[in-house]
């Protein structure tokens, strides 16, 4: 078990550098005129160019630039945003809390709804409830966030006035509820379907027949035997979804003006702010890898048949 974790952590180091390299290369290839992007609309003098190059090494070949970047990383310096003129680490520290809050709230809402509805429709497959949820999940699946987010904002934020239209940095849970709901729809349908099929499959398992033959109540057969087995894949899916939602909040954060990770990333990509994008994506990669590792370890804890060595 310990060796497994060490191995996974070492793999993570490699993945991390691979990911930064890729993102860095993509940003480099995408660059138009980084100097102009830096100064915005104003005209740029030759002396300014030289001064900027001394600071950002923008005229150096790609590999040299990447080397400068990695050297900074290794000393704990994620660099400075070209457009914001602030250290990336400072911006990350500001953006993460609200994104984590948003993602966790979204996952919580999605999981509660998906698991309870999935269990109910899995127990009575083909029933009215099952068919109704099937239709609803299809609609939700077919509705892209680009549509859902503005519609929800207009209907519940502007017209009904139930929720604030936009969200500030120190927003409370209530302020985040509407964006979290919108974000949750990204994962709710798959979570529900996975729960349903997992429950339905386990209902037919031989050990359920044994549990009935043991004279257990229906409540116990389902609660202790069916659910304990059915929820293993669901819990791991929810774990992966947490990672996906933290990174996948670009549109939602953009629409609701939430100053989180996705929001910054979106702005950075548009402004060709290389260091900002690479810095944010690298941290996202780390978050993703750590969550995946936790999910894999959780899997072993939930299913005694799985052991890592």
């Amino acid at each position: 078990m310990f060796r497994y974790i060490v191995r996974r952590l070492l793999q993570m180091v490699l993945t991390f550098f691979g990911a930064t390299f890729l993102v860095y290369a993509l940003m480099f290839a995408n660059q138009d005129d980084p100097y102009q992007a830096l100064v915005g609309e104003r005209p740029l003098s030759e002396s300014q160019r030289i001064a900027l190059n001394a600071q950002y090494h923008l005229d150096d070949p790609f590999l040299v630039q990447y080397w400068h970047y990695v050297r900074g990383l290794l000393t704990g310096d994620l660099g400075t945003s070209l457009t914001q003129r602030r250290p990336i680490s400072e911006m990350l520290a500001e953006a993460w809390p609200i994104t984590i809050k948003l993602a966790l709230l979204a996952v919580l809402i999605a999981a509660v709804i998906a698991v309870s509805a999935g269990v109910l429709s899995g127990i009575r497959r083909g029933g009215v409830f099952d068919n109704v949820t099937l239709v609803i999940t299809l609609i939700v699946l077919a509705m892209p966030v680009v549509v859902l987010a503005p519609v929800a904002q207009v209907v519940f934020g502007v017209q009904l006035g139930w929720f604030p239209v936009t969200v500030t940095r120190d927003a409370g849970l209530w302020d985040l509820l509407l964006p979290a709901l919108v974000l949750g729809t990204l994962v709710i349908a798959t979570e529900l379907r996975v729960t349903r099929s997992s429950v339905a499959e386990n209902m037919r398992a031989d050990y359920v027949r044994t549990a009935r033959a043991k004279g257990l109540t229906n409540k116990r057969v389902i609660g202790a035997h069916v659910l304990r087995n059915s929820l293993i894949p669901v819990i791991t899916l929810i774990g992966v979804d947490i990672g996906a939602l933290m990174s996948g909040a670009i549109i939602t954060e953009g629409v609701f003006n939430i100053p989180g990770v996705g929001f910054n990333l979106f702005r950075g990509i548009r402004a060709e702010d290389g260091p900002l994008v690479v810095g944010f994506v690298s941290v996202l990669v780390i978050v993703f890898l750590v969550i995946n590792l936790i999910v894999d370890l959780l899997y072993a804890a939930l299913d005694p048949r799985i052991r890592y060595e």
Binding site: A205, Y207, R209, A211, R212, A213, K214, G215, R228, R305
Partner: protein
């Protein structure tokens, strides 16, 4: 519940079970009669799909309804018709009075709970014992079914046991609440031959110790000959012959039983061709007119193709068969 200690231990009267599916109604069991006395081993013998497992699950009341429906008949335990009991009382009968073990112990045990938990669960839910006390009882039971080092193995999971040991765990679980009927649905089919013998030996032993009635569902004639007192031969949802084990092996009265016995390889027939039964049992959605066995029967005549088989005929005390040509088959 008012169980009558003088009534027969277990009696099944004219039970019918059908599966209502989209493709039609499959009549899996069409009038089964069985009787079981304390200490008796009743073997229910038949090919796959003859309704023997469905009969067992109907007795236990663990058929999936829908699609399965018990449409007719009685299951009397000590004089009480279990089919008429409300679900809550019926549930109390399971494991307490009638317990069951299954063919494939690996899939029949829950993979995510330790065997100790799964055995202890019976004591906790039915007897209200504490977790610790339940676990102590589980160790005792594992000891009784001769699982070595039971104390340390009680926390192991099903996949950590060998096939034979897993079936012992199943038996321990079935014995937990001291039932007086044990239904074993092909308990040794998934095991290799030496382990089969050990498990059958264990079953025979615990049965003797507790004077339990044992319903042994199997398709293995060899297993039956060793342990059964009485045999019920089933074909296409019906008991076609019912007799003490000695009589059946010496003088089968139904053509199907006779054909089954002739299809057993024997050392003294070495070199001769084996008399297998040709064809397959009928699909339960499409049972042939007349006697369901007639397409495969060596004795079949016109009457077998047109009329249903005659009612069970009492050949001797405790011995019945259902065929137009019993005398011919018996050779008298």
């Amino acid at each position: 519940m008012n169980f009558d200690p003088n009534a027969p231990l277990l009696q099944v009267n004219d039970m019918h079970v059908e599966f209502r599916t989209r493709d039609g109604v499959a009549r899996a069991v069409t009038g089964v009669n069985l009787i079981l006395r304390p200490g008796e081993t009743l073997a229910v013998l038949g090919e796959s799909g003859c309704g023997k497992s469905v009969t067992a699950q109907a007795i236990m009341g663990i058929l999936d309804t829908p699609p399965a429906h018990v449409t007719k008949g009685e299951v009397l335990y000590r004089g009480v018709d279990l089919l008429k009991l409300p679900e809550d009382e019926r549930r109390q009968v399971r494991a307490n009075r009638i317990a069951m073990i299954f063919q494939d112990a690996l899939s029949a045990l829950n993979p995510v709970y330790s065997v100790g938990y799964q055995i202890g669960e019976l004591f906790r839910t039915h007897r209200g014992l504490s977790r610790q006390e339940a676990k102590r009882r589980a160790v005792d039971l594992l000891d009784q079914v001769r699982i070595p080092d039971a104390k340390n193995r009680v926390d192991d999971y099903p996949h950590q046991f060998s096939g034979g040991m897993r079936q012992r765990v199943m038996i321990a679980m079935a014995l937990a609440l001291d039932p007086d009927v044990l239904i074993a649905d092909e308990p040794t089919t998934a095991l290799d031959v030496t382990v089969q013998a050990q498990i059958m030996g264990l079953l025979a032993e615990v049965q003797r110790e507790r004077n339990m009635g044992l319903v042994l569902i199997t398709h293995d004639m060899g297993v039956v000959a060793d342990v059964a007192d009485t045999i019920a031969v089933m074909y296409a949802g019906k008991v076609v012959e019912y007799a003490p084990v000695y009589d059946i092996y010496a003088h089968p009265a139904h053509p199907y039983t006779k054909a089954l016995l002739e299809s057993i390889p024997r050392l003294d027939f070495k070199g001769r061709g084996l008399n297998v039964i040709r064809g397959l049992p009928p699909a339960l959605t499409d049972v042939p007119r007349g006697c369901p066995f007639h397409p495969r029967c060596a004795y079949a005549r016109d009457v077998c193709r047109q009329d249903p088989p005659p009612p069970a005929y009492q050949i001797a005390p405790r011995r019945i068969a259902s065929c137009h040509f019993i005398r011919e088959v018996l050779g008298v």
